[in-house]
Symmetry: C2
Subunit: 435 residues, 2 copies
């Protein structure tokens, strides 16, 4: 059998330990599939002494993480430290610069610096892979980079954050409100103590930017992702969506439109109304799912565990096997020099239907005021639900669904209502996912 | 840009024409992703003159299909002729023997001769790929060969035949019976004039045998697949399953059990009761879906169009792109010499729950006779439904669901009832898919 592929592992949190366990558990099978053994030779983490439940004695301990990058006995540096910048990025640059392969699960770093790292990897003819950075154990980076490679994709979307999906589907099951379910998610380990990146949609935005770059062949543009989280979604939104035939999910959507110079990319993470019959409606709990729509493949769905030490380790080691096989390929499917710059689309030009929920004072004339603003802005109302006085402080929730139209009209209607004494809280707009 | 990858295309049915259209439509994008152009240089089919809606003049026409295999101007032979043996197999052997790459969508041939062809390909260091042979446009061969490569899988299952799934989900929607929906599927082009291979489960069995070999690293063993089709499923079975919280789907299931010498492989295609909450329950119409359960990845689902010219072309060209990139890899994930022989499991040893439907004469004592046989065979009944006299000829349908137990007990119960005058038609047993 050929020479082993030798790995330096930086970061011994749950995922790092998961990778060690996986490589130990499935050692022979991995060697058979990779064509050669995959061996961890060196490890590093902040604290050496900590008991992590695995025996680290077979591996060289390295105190200075950055020293991993230049060890002569290492072929691939595996970064599981996290953080978009700082030590992870320094390590990535140093490893690739030294011509080592570089594998990471770090979505923030790939979203911010993936293009630079891909260019460096190409220059050094080094492998750079990040399957684990998107949707945990689901092989969707490979799916888009290789599986759909023959297709022009025009839409990539999905449920990219398990924490939000857990909270939303639990709200759906229990009728409880957001705050209560967030606390429950934290208790069960599905949400961090500081859940900001998850519930505000930033984590999903990292993943969406990566998928869009791979699927569309565009230069990764995380800054252009427009992001809204789920903190404004209320139990009565979920109930009203249900009565209309929808569930609410946090969906990242990337859409490519136009041709040539006029090509535009829209990247958004927002809570959306998903029709019951759509496959994403059936995705509950901390599961992730990605849909890619190709001109020949049609709609493809990839679904599975979006996080967790074992699924993430599965994705990390799949990358290592690809590298061992000599099949790593271009990280974004095409050479990084071929990735094209694509200007962000104006979201106002989106043509679609929206759910709008107003929180209003319970007095005569409020509905007339709202519907007049809609009319003046050119928004056509498909259905309107006024609920009884059961929200806090004697306010009433008025929800409506618009007919298909340009999104900027909805924006204009809300501008017209801005400052109105009838509205006791900012309205919430959620798009209806096109089937 | 590097030299083009030159393709000889055998077979100009809908898929062959789809491949020509795809390669023409997405030419530049494919070249960017593949690192070099992919060019069809020669084509062949039975009839030369036929109008296929595409211009064949750019390609050399070859009258003798077998001559494709040895043309000096060809790198890869693409076989879209079909048939497990005959000209397709002769071409496969000749192409690989000549050291050409060989790509096919031919599930029957791969199921019967895939191991031989993989061995020949390895000997000649030629690429051999068949993504399109399983589940149309879904990149599930790649998913199992590479995406889950770090995992020991213990179960691979899915909806592998679009015709059956269309018929069953239409029966569910309309309440109509099998024959009526088969006719409707034929009218709409979802079923062939001779639907035997589809409705008897043979097509799904071909695909299952291929997936099992890739996922488990076993020598492909199509003969060992135990296959039952959907012709015995009645509208009242679907109604009764529904009342119990299930839909009926034709599911191919491959399960690996035991260790070392005692390792056993169970491969079966059968109509199954699928719990509403299971992702396969949401798969309707001609869609396919494959679930792989890995020890680290957990449950992964791959879903999409299972057939059709465009999705199949998408899968075929993905294989060509892999070959152009030099990333074809071992067709069954490990070198064919490493694939292990695995004896078939005894299906009677399966521990599970079953749905059993009896068609019985409507007279006193019948239920007592059936339940006594169950008791004597050691089958424990979880629930029992006796419907009114609404089936043909004054018979009554009695359905029951068993508690978990060994399948051979159910077989024994049916043996005890064999020849009983109370049973007016053979019973139908369908397993309940484990969640």
């Amino acid at each position: 059998m050929a020479e082993p592929l030798r790995i330096a592992l930086a970061g011994l949190g749950t995922v790092g330990v998961g990778v060690i366990r996986l490589i130990e558990t499935n050692r022979d099978m991995i060697a058979a599939r990779a064509g050669r053994p995959i061996e961890i030779v060196a490890v590093t983490a902040r604290e050496r002494g900590k008991d992590r439940g695995v025996d680290l004695s077979p591996y060289a301990w390295v105190d200075d993480m950055q020293a991993m990058a230049t060890r002569a006995d290492v072929d691939v540096v595996l970064e599981l430290v996290g953080g978009s910048d700082g030590p992870a990025l320094t390590l990535a640059r140093a490893a690739l610069d030294a011509g080592k392969g570089f594998v990471t699960a770090n979505k923030a770093m790939v979203a911010h610096h993936g293009l630079e790292l891909a260019e460096l990897a190409a220059m050094k003819q080094a492998a750079f892979a990040f399957e684990a950075a998107v949707a945990g154990g689901i092989p969707v980076v490979k799916g888009l980079r290789e599986g759909t490679a023959a297709n022009a994709l025009d839409r990539i979307y999905g449920i990219l954050n398990g924490t939000c999906n857990y909270i939303l589907s639990e709200m759906e099951q229990t009728g409880a409100d957001f705050g209560e379910m967030l606390a429950s998610a934290q208790e069960k380990g599905y949400a961090e103590a500081d859940p900001t990146f998850d519930i505000e949609g930033v984590d999903a935005a990292h993943k969406l930017a990566i998928l869009a770059a791979i699927g569309f062949g565009t230069r990764i543009d995380f800054e252009a992702v427009r992001t809204e989280g789920i903190t404004q979604v209320r139990a009565h939104d979920i109930a009203q969506a249900d009565s209309l035939g929808y569930v609410i999910r946090l969906v990242g959507i990337a859409t490519l439109s136009g041709e040539g110079e006029a090509r535009r990319l829209l990247q958004r993470v927002r809570p959306c109304l998903v029709p019951f019959r759509h496959p994403l409606a059936a995705v509950t709990g901390p599961t992730n799912a990605v849909v890619a729509e190709g001109d020949f493949s049609g709609r493809l769905l990839f679904q599975g565990a979006g996080a967790g030490d074992k699924p993430t380790a599965s994705a990390v080691v799949a990358d290592l096997i690809d590298i061992a096989r000599g099949q790593a390929g271009a990280p974004f499917s095409v050479p990084s020099t071929s990735l094209v710059e694509c200007a962000p689309a104006d979201p106002g030009e989106r043509i679609g239907r929206d759910y709008i929920r107003f929180t209003v004072a319970d007095r005569p004339g409020v509905l007339a005021e709202i519907t007049a603003a809609m009319r003046d802005a050119g928004v056509s109302i498909e259905s309107l639900i006024q609920r009884g006085r059961d929200t806090e402080g004697g306010n009433v929730a008025v929800a409506m669904v618009t007919h298909e139209g340009p999104e900027h009209c909805v924006g204009k209607a809300l501008d017209l209502l801005e400052g109105s004494a009838s509205l006791t809280a900012p309205p919430l707009v959620m798009p209806i996912l096109k089937d």
